[in-house]
């Protein structure tokens, strides 16, 4: 949503939008509701061909950033996905791809990235646990070191696309520190419980790890020192999520205004009534603010700005709260039809509600901001 995109970025946005509009229009999103996975893997490989999976991976490993600012590139896709409440594990895959590109060993990169880049395999991040909190302190799953092995025990929850994932990047605890381990979905001791959410296409699941023993080479980075990596992954997740929410809010406002111009009460279009106009003006303010803070967060990730943690929490608190409120008030403006299955606004409300909760709710990020100006996401 940056105003000063490069020509490449503008082209990428146009391509992305066209692809989503033609391949997964809202009618398709509705039909995916009835599927178990919520998206089609063949379609995901097409998306990968457009570059969706390669943004954070250096060219030497088969990837390629558009602009040298990969988070800024990635929020372009996320925003477009929000505009059409699109399916697909874009956030999850890219967080793991970025983590491997940033912190993975040569062997891990060689072994895993090619499949992820082509879209043939799906990688996802397993961070939160049963209490649904996205903070390091809440991680109780253990990664025990045993000679040349690492042994995982615990239950990860709210794992996006768990049911179809081939790889889990599991964040676990080793003593006081955090350890991240790349776990194949078919490793002995891994049990995946598929799940659904109120979102039309986004599926989450639980991953139980019972004495999952892997060679130590499965550890991403160094055991017990993954704290900063986890922070960085969380910041990226929040940037992508904020961008998606911006797309959700802006698109919802657009079609609500279209509707409101055509709907008349007492001889006037309903959006000619000042009480609505003023609420809509307030929405325009928060959409502009949401874009501004999301851009700033993406740039902070790309530039290793020390304010990134503050921006991540501010973005989630601000965008998460306002995006849902915008969609919610658009339902009100739409009136009775807005609370029916037939009207599209609920598709957006579903996505907004799920995005609001995942990776820490506005309330949780505000609690951080209340006591710590430096933020901590």
């Amino acid at each position: 949503m940056r105003l000063d995109l490069t020509e490449d970025q503008e082209f990428f946005r146009a391509t992305t939008r066209k692809f989503l509009e033609s391949e997964v229009p809202l009618a398709t999103v509705r039909s995916l509701y009835d599927t178990v996975d919520g998206f089609d893997r063949t379609w995901w490989q097409q998306a990968a061909e457009l570059g969706w999976t390669s943004l954070f991976v250096p060219e030497s490993l088969g990837g390629g950033s558009l602009s040298g600012a990969p988070a800024t590139d990635a929020v372009i896709v996320a925003e477009e996905m929000g505009r059409l409440v699109s399916p697909g594990p874009f956030l999850a895959v890219n967080v793991v791809a970025a983590a491997l590109a940033w912190f993975g060993s040569d062997a891990q990169q060689a072994q895993v990235l090619a499949g992820v880049l082509s879209g043939e395999s799906i990688a996802t991040w397993a961070f939160a646990e049963l209490d649904g909190r996205w903070d390091a302190a809440s991680v109780v799953t253990t990664a025990g070191l045993d000679g040349d092995s690492v042994v995982l025990d615990g239950v990860k929850a709210y794992v996006e696309a768990a049911g179809v994932a081939d790889w889990f990047l599991v964040t676990a605890r080793t003593g006081e520190g955090l350890t991240q381990v790349l776990v194949p979905a078919d490793a002995p001791g891994v049990t995946v419980t598929r799940g659904r959410s109120i979102d039309m296409t986004r599926r989450f699941g639980k991953v139980a790890l019972s004495q999952v023993r892997l060679p130590a080479s499965a550890i991403v980075g160094k055991a017990g020192t993954a704290g900063p990596a986890v922070e960085r992954q969380l910041h990226l997740a929040l940037a992508l999520q904020s961008a998606e929410m911006v797309g959700v809010a802006e698109r919802t406002l657009e079609f609500t205004l279209e509707y409101g111009r055509e709907r008349f009460a007492f001889g006037r279009p309903i959006v000619s009534y000042q009480a609505l106009k003023h609420r809509i003006a307030d929405m325009a303010v928060t959409i502009e603010g949401s874009k501004a803070v999301t851009d700033a967060l993406a740039t902070a990730i790309d530039t290793d700005d020390p304010k990134v943690a503050l921006l991540a929490s501010v973005a989630k608190a601000y965008v998460g709260e306002h995006c849902l409120d915008i969609v919610d008030d658009c339902v009100q403006i739409t009136g009775g039809i807005g609370v029916t299955w037939e009207h599209d606004v609920h598709l957006y409300n579903r996505r907004a509600a799920v995005d609001r909760a995942m990776y820490g709710s506005p309330e949780e990020h505000k609690a951080l901001l209340a006591t710590n100006t430096e933020g901590a996401a």
Binding site: F264, R268, W341, H346
Partner: protein, 413 residues
């Protein structure tokens, strides 16, 4: 409706009612008795339509008698057929005010007996709040009217027997002067009528219906009031609706509102919010939301009681009911919003491949229902500011010109 001379005194009536209620009406705590059956019990014992004239099946008493009866019902925590509020409290009195004698004799006794349930056919797909902007077309041909168009947001049309329908019979008259009201039969698949239940936001079949009229023939006798005088019938209906909601007038059913104590009326239960906050360890961050829910659960019923009392005492006028409607619907929405935030991800995600509908997330999707159905919050605010506080009316462009022209002008915006 009925003179107050030569009728039983309220005191005598109260005494015999009390005995009868204690002996006959089931307690709220007992299994729920089917609505029509319960109404029949009242009817057979002379307690249906207490303030309706005897000739139409009522008890021929006064509103004071009726209030006495339902005060006892409330004190004694008894069941009454409150689902019939629309039939008995709103539509019955409207027919009584506006119908011919034949019409009243035809429709009121079965209504009071619980044999024929009525509902309203007012809103339309294109104009929820603007009731008088109806574009349902009513055209007379001899002794028959033909109805075309559609109505929406009619609750429970699939089990009602009759709908009171507001439609347009003269397109050259100004908006409010070309309307008529007519009784539309809904059961038994009458020709020209299709009823569809609206699919709720959850995907399930919903409570509301949409009715499509395709040259549906209606006997001219079904007209309620004069042709083209439908707006005065509608205003009469709105008057009775306000009174009914305010707990006064012919629809007085005071008891059902209090049954179950404070929380029951507001629908706000703070317990689950507190539990979720504790479970997730987010008490500090969401304390204000929980407190606001507690506040609503206390203030909303007190406000409603105050307004009800004011309406009874005459210190308040009917429009003040909008205050309570606005307040309580916003509270319900607010609590749904709080639940979504407090329950977090757990409210939105579940195990298994099946759709689940009983979580805070799904409730959230439907939460705007409370601030839309029964008159949007915006309409309540218009009513409060214009009717109650007397602020200038909103400029409108559909008054005093032929309705056809109103429609043509829409293109200019």
């Amino acid at each position: 409706m009925t003179g107050t001379t030569d009728i039983e005194s309220v005191e005598t009536f109260r005494a015999r009612s009390k005995a009868w209620i204690e002996a006959n009406l089931p307690l709220l705590s007992e299994p729920w008795v089917e609505t029509r059956e319960l109404q029949r019990l009242l009817f057979d014992n002379g307690y249906a339509g207490i303030s309706y004239p005897k000739e139409y099946g009522g008890a021929g008493l006064t509103i004071e008698h009726q209030k006495a009866f339902y005060d006892i019902v409330a004190e004694q925590d008894r069941q009454v057929p409150s689902e019939l509020m629309v039939s008995i409290g709103i539509i019955g009195p409207t027919i009584l005010d506006n119908g011919s004698q034949e019409l009243k004799q035809r429709f009121l006794p079965p209504l009071l007996r619980g044999d024929e349930v009525w509902m309203q056919l007012l809103s339309e797909p294109r104009g929820g709040s603007d009731m008088a902007g109806t574009t349902c077309r009513l055209k007379r041909d001899g002794d028959t009217y033909f109805l075309n168009g559609s109505k929406m947001w009619s609750s429970g049309a699939y089990h009602a027997d009759y709908g009171l329908c507001l439609c347009r019979s003269d397109w050259d008259a100004p908006k409010h002067r070309g309307l008529s009201t007519i009784a539309v039969p809904l059961q038994g698949n009458p020709p020209g009528l299709t009823i569809e239940r609206t699919r709720a936001v959850s995907g399930e079949a919903g409570h509301f219906c949409e009715e499509f009229f395709d040259d549906m023939p209606l006997p001219a006798d079904n007209l309620i009031g004069e042709e083209n005088a439908g707006w005065s019938v509608a205003q009469s209906l709105l008057f009775h609706e306000r009174n009914a909601v305010g707990g006064i007038g012919m629809g007085y059913l005071g008891g059902w509102r209090r049954g179950g104590g404070a929380g029951a009326f507001t629908g706000i239960d703070v317990g689950p919010l507190r539990e979720a906050a504790e479970r997730r360890g987010v008490g500090g961050a969401v304390g204000t939301m929980i407190a606001d829910a507690v506040i609503s659960s206390v203030v909303d019923p007190l406000t409603s009681d105050r307004i009800t009392l004011g309406l009874q005492l005459g210190t308040h006028k009917g429009h003040r009911g909008s205050l309570s409607k606005l307040q309580s619907s916003l509270s319900l929405h607010g609590v749904a919003r709080a639940a979504l935030a407090i329950e977090g991800a757990a409210a939105l995600v579940w195990d298994g491949d099946d759709v689940q509908l009983d979580n805070a997330g799904t409730s959230w999707l439907a939460a705007r229902g409370s601030t839309i159905a029964g008159g949007t919050s915006e309409m309540q605010r218009n009513t409060i500011s214009e009717r109650l506080l007397g602020l200038p009316r909103e400029p409108a462009f559909d008054r005093d010109i032929p309705f056809n022209e109103v429609l043509r002008n829409l293109g200019k915006f």
